[in-house]
């Protein structure tokens, strides 16, 4: 009898403990997200010299493009915090699924104080703005000299929402030297070929790369152009298509109207060209099932001769390639100026940083102030160069960066929060040799003469927001099939015919044209 009571007592205690744990864990998970601030503000504040205000505490959601996130006690982070008098709680979200995470955050309404919006024109963000979830920053920007001068007028203009107001600080990026064809100059030289300037010349180069054994191993095993196709877009092959259409993005201005680019006869030509290239093995046989890294590996292992990328990524490719091919020089990573007189021009920004309405006005102003101070040269240099002795050395009055160390210390990751754009940043780097920078600078200047911008950025069409993603996907499915030779080109013709007769298509075109005219009139 006694033994029995004891076991009963134990059962009750156990049950109680279990339910308590459950409750606690449930509360814990919901409580964590809501309270953004951290408790130990006093330790960080002591270092700030000459600042009477206590450090600004804020939570940040930023994109992470490197494998590992800077730790919370990262040296560079602490130095920036000290300089801008803030205590940042940064949630680094991997670039692989940033959109998903952001959409979930927006859906839950639990938005960090400073949030990176990767696509300011997505329906989810537009919705959030129209519901009044974010601060309208338009009236405040002029008070912050760096924000208004170091971020281009175009970037501010293009990131305006449908009501003509700015709901975020655009992250400035250089607008020239967007990803385009990069070709192995050593292979061209070996076969006595010129850098291509038209799609026909590009075809000839690819054909020669495939058949004339440019890597000299005695086998025809080279893949001229490495690429992959995404389920929803053309991936790098988009540059081939756009070289034909001369259009950056999905909309072409034709006779005063915006036309969806898949409907253009040039798109059909591009598909025929690519289908031929696929058949002749000028692009990878697995182009439809490959992913970005697999396609990059083909180039970096010396199996492919052309890749679509920014010139500024040279050292990534070079470091791997030179282990396979010791004769490969840095200047052999050679950017093509233009094809058919086309090369893409960037928008001048990459997403923006927005502040939710849950942040009080005073704090919102302090966040803007923080970003403004951060853009000062002396503060921005912290993430740009790191610390003397560990991340860079001064040689002949020039800072020479140890890129691996700086990468390890997380410096470049902070560019994802605040950045000051150098117009040549997409092609030249401080750590490239002077001859490489000179070459890339010259090519970029040449490219700037013919670069084409995406005119549809920031244009709002309610129908497009709702219908275009599905149409885009269907179009891409059809394109993929035609490139792989699964469907004849006549299938494309009837597909395009149906698309032309889709009432939504006409409606989108009208709305986009109206939005475009409205913007042109306003400027």
């Amino acid at each position: 009898m006694k033994r029995k009571t004891k076991s009963r007592g134990a059962a009750v205690t156990l049950a109680g403990l279990l339910s308590l744990t459950l409750l606690l864990s449930a509360c814990g998970s919901s409580g964590n997200g809501a309270s953004g601030g951290s408790g130990n503000a006093s330790t960080a504040g002591s270092g700030a010299s000459g600042q009477s205000e206590s450090p600004l505490e804020l939570s940040i959601m930023a994109i992470l493009l490197t494998p590992t996130a800077p730790a919370d006690d990262n040296k560079i982070k602490q130095a920036i915090e000290k300089a801008v008098n803030a205590k940042m709680k940064i949630n680094w979200v991997s670039g692989n699924n940033y959109t998903d995470k952001l959409n979930v955050a927006l859906a839950s309404g639990d938005i960090p104080d400073l949030t990176y919006i990767d696509d300011p024109f997505s329906s989810v963000f537009r919705n959030a703005v129209s519901q009044g979830a974010f601060w309208d920053l338009t009236p405040y920007i002029k008070d912050y000299p760096n924000l208004s001068s170091k971020i281009s007028e175009t970037a501010w203009n293009l990131t305006k929402m449908a009501d003509g107001k700015n709901y975020g600080v655009p992250r400035p990026r250089p607008s020239e030297a967007d990803p385009f064809f990069i070709i192995r100059k050593d292979w061209l030289d070996k076969l006595g070929l010129q850098v291509p300037t038209t799609t026909d010349e590009l075809y000839n180069v690819m054909k020669a790369f495939a058949e004339k054994d440019p890597d000299g191993n005695g086998k025809n095993d080279t893949i001229p152009l490495t690429a992959y196709i995404n389920p929803s877009d053309m991936g790098p092959l988009g540059q081939v298509e756009q070289s034909f259409t001369g259009v950056n993005g999905k909309w072409k201005l034709q006779d005063g109207k915006l036309v969806y680019s898949a409907l253009l006869p040039e798109t059909r030509q591009a598909l025929e060209y690519l289908a031929k290239a696929y058949k002749e093995k000028l692009i990878p046989e697995d182009v439809a099932s490959m992913k970005l890294t697999q396609s990059k590996d083909l180039f970096d292992s010396g199996k492919a001769g052309i890749i679509v990328d920014k010139a500024g990524t040279m050292s990534d490719h070079y470091n791997t390639l030179k282990t396979v091919d010791p004769n490969f020089k840095q200047t052999d990573f050679y950017p093509v100026t233009s094809i058919n007189g086309y090369n893409p021009k960037g928008a001048g920004f990459a997403g923006m940083m927005a502040i939710p309405k849950s942040v009080p006005e005073d704090k919102m102003k302090r966040i803007l102030k923080m970003m403004d101070t951060w853009m000062n040269e002396d503060v921005f240099d912290i993430q740009q160069y790191g610390f003397e002795g560990t991340d860079y050395k001064v040689e002949n009055g020039q800072k020479v960066i140890d890129t691996d160390q700086l990468q390890k210390d997380g410096g470049p990751s902070f560019n994802q929060i605040v950045y000051v754009a150098d117009p040549y940043a997409s092609s030249t780097k401080v750590y490239f040799p002077a001859e490489v920078n000179d070459l890339y600078k010259k090519i970029q200047d040449d490219r700037a003469k013919s670069s084409v911008a995406d005119i549809s950025i920031g244009l709002y069409s309610a129908t497009a927001v709702q219908e275009l993603p599905e149409i885009d996907k269907k179009v891409q499915d059809m394109k993929t099939k035609i490139i792989l030779g699964r469907e004849p080109i006549t299938a494309w013709d009837s597909f395009v015919n149906d698309l032309k007769n889709d009432p939504n298509m006409a409606k989108m075109s009208e709305e986009m044209t109206a939005a475009y005219e409205q913007r042109s009139a306003g400027q």
Binding site: R8, S122, K481
Partner: protein, 324 residues
């Protein structure tokens, strides 16, 4: 605990005159007598309430035009509009066909395999060999789909894949596997078999372990061969496990492992690869149409529930225990 069961079960229905009050009184008596057992069950109940039932409240957004900032309370109600839009969508039939196709193929080809494998393992005499095989066939279960899709690419890629390189060396042409709509369902099924077949044997082997060895002994004395023993002892003994698993499996007829399909998906196979799960993800999370995708998800779950109920009925009719 076993001491309580006969008592609770021994109370015959006809014994009480069946009035509401007496039923309630009996419930109160039961509760009082078994209070410690109920207390023990409490954490489980709390768990299900907190993590399974409370979030289910969210499905009301499928009847709304949900906007995250207005919240559930502030979003306008639209009745069945989302469902109507879903069923009228020309893609609906394609999604339905693909989901059912992939699942039927897996039901026919994949479901019986763990049973066969566990029967084979059960007959293995060398204990060491049996354990070694078990460990090896369990292993793939612990690999993530990301790794498996990467392996599949390395093995079956048309350009530089292992199989195709061998085929070419042997003089045969290269075969396109990854972007071939005709092979896509088969490829998914084979991947599932490779990954989960060994893991699926666990329950069957456990059921077989509980068979009394004396039964086998008696059969052997009566001169039953190994095959006969398998047919008349082992299989009947695990029949109820098979039925339970089959019912549960039917409940998942509308699910296709999301990660697997998503990772193997590409534009060339879209018309056979798009299933409800990928559609809900694409439209809901990526395009932010929360209400519409919830409606699609809800439809999927309701069908699954109906299938479980029907399968359970049938199982009971056939004299099996079922799952509830």
């Amino acid at each position: 605990m076993p001491a309580h069961e006969p008592r609770a079960g021994a109370v015959p229905r006809a014994w009480s005159p069946g009035g509401e009050t007496s039923r309630l009184r009996r419930l109160a008596l039961d509760l009082k007598r078994d209070r410690y057992l109920y207390v023990l069950a409490l954490p489980g109940l709390v768990f299900f309430l907190l993590f399974k039932f409370v979030p289910m409240w969210g499905i009301v957004i499928s009847f709304q035009n949900y906007s995250p900032f207005a919240g559930i309370g502030g979003s306008p109600w639209v009745g069945l509009d989302n469902f109507r839009r879903f069923f009228e969508n020309p893609d609906f039939m394609m999604l339905f066909r693909n989901t059912m196709g992939i699942n039927l193929l897996s039901l026919v080809c994949f479901f019986p395999l763990p049973i066969v494998l566990s029967l084979l393992l059960n007959e293995v005499r060398s204990l060491f060999y049996k354990r070694a095989v078990q460990t090896i066939v369990y292993m793939p279960h612990f690999l993530s789909w990301v790794i498996i899709s990467g392996l599949t690419f390395i093995i079956f890629a048309k350009g530089d894949g292992l199989v195709n390189n061998m085929l070419e060396a042997a003089g045969a042409g290269r075969v396109d596997v990854l972007t071939n709509p005709n092979l896509f369902w088969i490829m998914l099924t084979i991947q599932s078999i490779w990954k989960e077949c060994g893991w699926g044997t666990i329950l069957f082997l456990a059921a077989m372990a509980s068979i009394d060895p004396q039964v086998y002994e008696a059969a052997r004395i009566d001169g039953a061969s190994r095959l006969r023993q398998m047919r008349h002892i082992t299989l009947p003994a695990i029949r109820s496990v098979i039925v339970v698993l089959l019912i549960l499996r039917l409940g998942h007829m509308m699910d296709v492992g999301f990660e697997q399909v998503f990772l193997m998906y590409n534009g060339a196979v879209s018309e056979v690869a798009e299933v409800f799960d990928t559609y809900v993800y694409r439209v809901g999370i990526q395009q932010g149409q929360f209400s519409y995708s919830t409606a699609a998800g809800l439809f999927k779950s309701v069908v699954g529930l109906v299938l479980v109920v029907i399968a359970n009925r049938i199982a009971k009719k056939m004299g099996e225990e079922g799952i509830y």
